[in-house]
């Protein structure tokens, strides 16, 4: 994958996010709500521990036989009448979908929520070929109207409040901006989209769990738009990452429980839709054609390394971002790319290269809040550290653009630090110097400056613990 543009400027995004007080308030309120709802679902720590162990095992087992499962998925989908396509990159995937639509003369498609289609920039691509792609999930519909990217993978419009949405609808749809509550705004969207569902030429959706054993595509949602786009139009096209496949139908059950409870604190979503083919035999309705596009987009590279492979266990619940102290303050748009928050910090640089996303791995205090809530136990903090190693040129080179962040100055500083801290005599000399004169360092010294913008300068003690304990006669053995 070539670097078509300048690296993503995470810092500018952070700056914008931090200083937008409305945005921060919107995120804080939303994340507090999501955290509280999730916590209520996992009040029994025993159940949580056992269920997430099961979730992790199922995902790891599936990944351990991924190529076999993909072939089995293809075979069983094909037997069910689903046409399976494979795409290595965005251009291939978009071309596949365009061909399906153009061959059938389709000019309008309705879409269910799909993060993979965001990776493809599918709406813009289809628009460029004269095909109207309309988002049908309420949150996605809102941000499509606003011309924005999702700021959250489950709640795409959570950065906007109802006043902002009412103004947006007034501007784009001509409705009244006044006195619109969430219910009224929802009713407006329902009205606008109903006719689109009825007449669209095709529906496009993502997939939560593709099942190899049965050739089944499981989709979960609350609004009914996912069922609409996969049921009413004559053609259904599903897109999904190759990593998502699970082996057996029963594997869906613990993952479903973990996903809905982690994501929105629901025991289950309103709809769990299991699609195993286009209408067949005497079926009375349902699409005449179902297509499944399996996309790679860099995932096979992430898969190549057994440690980074754990990133692919993700079931896209967003609990990591809901609990992230950085995400809640900077907002989803700061991250660029499709996946924000902790999972985005490890996934985006792996899919798109460390050179394009140089600040992602370091933008974490490694507080482990994400690790604690991940329902499939992805060691996100360990992965961030691994990416830092790769960026500095101290990894295995498995990650795209490894070594792109190597800095001679930093390397030299760490080498000097290591030499000092691994040699007792050197450390004794250095600590004596720091306790004696360290406080004379000006607050404007290079690294101190960032620290002292909001904090007092740390003060070195007059005497180190080493010396103090020696004087106290504490044993040195």
């Amino acid at each position: 994958m070539s670097h078509s543009s300048a690296p993503h400027d995470f810092r500018a995004g952070i700056d914008a996010g931090l200083h937008d007080t409305t945005l921060r308030a919107n995120f804080r309120r939303a994340m507090d709500g999501l955290m509280t709802k999730r916590a209520r679902q996992f009040e029994d720590p025993q159940e949580w521990t056992r269920l997430r162990a099961l979730g992790q095992e199922i995902r790891q087992r599936a990944l351990s036989k991924l190529p076999d499962l993909l072939e089995r998925l293809e075979e069983n989908c094909t037997r069910n009448g689903i046409r399976v396509h494979w795409a290595e990159d965005v251009a291939q995937a978009n071309a596949i979908i365009l061909e399906i639509l153009q061959q059938r003369g389709i000019t309008t498609v309705v879409k269910g929520k799909s993060m993979v289609s965001e990776e493809m920039h599918l709406n813009a691509f289809l628009g460029g070929h004269g095909i109207r792609a309309l988002e049908a999930d309420l949150g996605e519909y809102i941000i499509q109207l606003a011309g924005q990217m999702p700021c959250h993978i489950v709640m795409p419009a959570i950065h906007l409040n109802k006043t902002q949405i009412a103004d947006l609808f007034a501007d784009k749809l001509g409705t009244s901006p006044d006195g619109q509550d969430a219910e009224a705004l929802t009713a407006i969207a329902r009205e606008k989209l109903r006719e689109e569902f009825r007449t669209a030429g095709a529906g496009i959706s993502g997939v939560n769990f593709p099942v190899a054993e049965t050739g089944t595509l499981c989709l979960i949602e609350n609004e009914g738009n996912g069922r609409m786009v996969t049921t009413v139009p004559p053609v259904h096209i599903a897109v999904t990452g190759i990593e998502k496949v699970v082996e057996n139908l029963e594997d869906v059950t613990p993952l479903l429980r973990l996903l809905t409870r982690s994501a929105t604190g629901q025991p289950i979503t309103t709809y769990v839709n299991m699609i195993s083919g286009p209408r067949r035999g005497a079926d009375q309705d349902g699409p005449q054609e179902v297509h499944l596009v399996l996309i790679d987009f860099g995932r096979s590279r992430v898969y190549a390394d057994p440690e980074t492979r754990q990133t692919l266990q993700c079931i896209r619940c967003a609990a990591c971002m809901n609990h992230c102290p950085v995400y809640v303050r900077v907002g989803g748009h700061a991250y660029g790319g499709v996946y924000p928050g902790p999972i985005g910090k490890i996934l985006t640089p792996q899919l798109n290269g460390l050179a394009d996303y140089p600040d992602h791995p370091s933008a974490s205090s490694l507080c482990n809040a994400c690790v604690e809530v991940c329902p499939v136990k992805i060691p996100i903090a360990q992965m961030l550290v691994r990416l830092r190693n790769e960026k500095a040129g101290q990894g295995t080179g498995a990650v795209q653009d490894a070594g792109s962040g190597a800095s001679r100055v930093e390397d030299a500083a760490w080498k000097a630090w290591a030499a000092t801290y691994s040699t007792p005599l050197a450390y004794r000399v250095a600590s004596a110097a720091l306790t004696a004169a360290g406080n004379a360092l000006p607050a404007s010294a290079p690294l101190l400056k960032a620290w002292t913008s909001v904090r007092k300068k740390p003060r070195f003690a007059a005497q180190s613990l080493h010396r103090t304990l020696k004087e106290m006669g504490v044993a040195d053995e």
């Binding site: 939303a30 309420l138 929105t264 349902g286 898969y303």
Partner: protein, 221 residues
């Protein structure tokens, strides 16, 4: 296209083995020692918690319990909510026609899979293959006698569920009935009416799917 397939599979096969765990403990899902009455109670609690309406009833021929017949509950509810055009599942059309013949103020019974008609009716009446106690979910199994749209596009969905068809969890429903060897084109679990909280996390019922879900719970256990 076939190149993409070959390239992806080749790259995946070239990767070294990763983490895996050969065995899992499923007891966290499996162990449920709920009586049928427990399951009925839990089903109701969970379904009602997401705004489904659950009404106990019996089959018209069943006089063993002091509960109303489902068709009379249905007629009353339709009258109360202004349902004039009711699309129904094929197996229910004839019995309902027979039960309602001669009774005044019954909604029109519409037997169709036509998209535009379904978009225009007031309510859709379906069967349910089963229910899931733990989450208050209906298991819908549309197919040759029941269009998929019947439970989706009308603004109200009414479903008949027999208490004898309740399962503790989805896992039990799936494994005890061997779903994996007989998946139809579409299976849908429905838990409450359609909803969203995409705007400020405010819960709103009735987005693209039905705004109202009535479960006629036929006590036959």
């Amino acid at each position: 296209m076939s190149d993409a397939r070959a390239n992806i599979l080749r790259r995946l096969r070239a990767a070294p083995a990763g983490l895996t765990q050969p065995y899992s403990d499923w007891s966290v899902l499996r162990d449920r020692d709920w009586s049928i009455d427990d399951q009925v109670g839990l089903f109701r609690t969970m379904a009602e918690s997401v705004n489904a309406r659950v009404i106990d009833c019996v089959a018209p021929e069943d006089a063993s319990r002091p509960l109303p017949s489902w068709d009379s509950v249905l007629a009353e509810d339709c009258a109360a909510r202004g349902v004039r055009r009711l699309a129904v599942s094929a197996p229910l059309a004839a019995p309902l026609q027979a039960l309602w013949t001669g009774s005044p103020n019954r909604p029109e019974i519409i037997l169709t899979a036509d998209r535009d008609t379904l978009f225009s009716v007031d309510a859709g009446l379906t069967t349910a293959r089963g229910g899931i106690a733990e989450t208050g979910s209906l298991i819908l199994w549309p197919g040759p006698t029941e269009p998929r749209m019947l439970s989706l596009v009308p603004p109200r969905h009414i479903a008949l569920l027999r208490t004898s068809r309740l399962h503790p969890t989805l896992w039990h429903a799936m494994t005890e009935n061997g779903w994996a060897s007989q998946m139809p084109t579409n299976v849908v679990l429905v838990t409450g009416p359609s909803k969203t909280s995409d705007i400020e996390q405010t819960l709103v019922f009735g987005v693209h799917g039905p705004k109202d879900l009535l479960i006629l719970l036929i006590n036959d256990h």
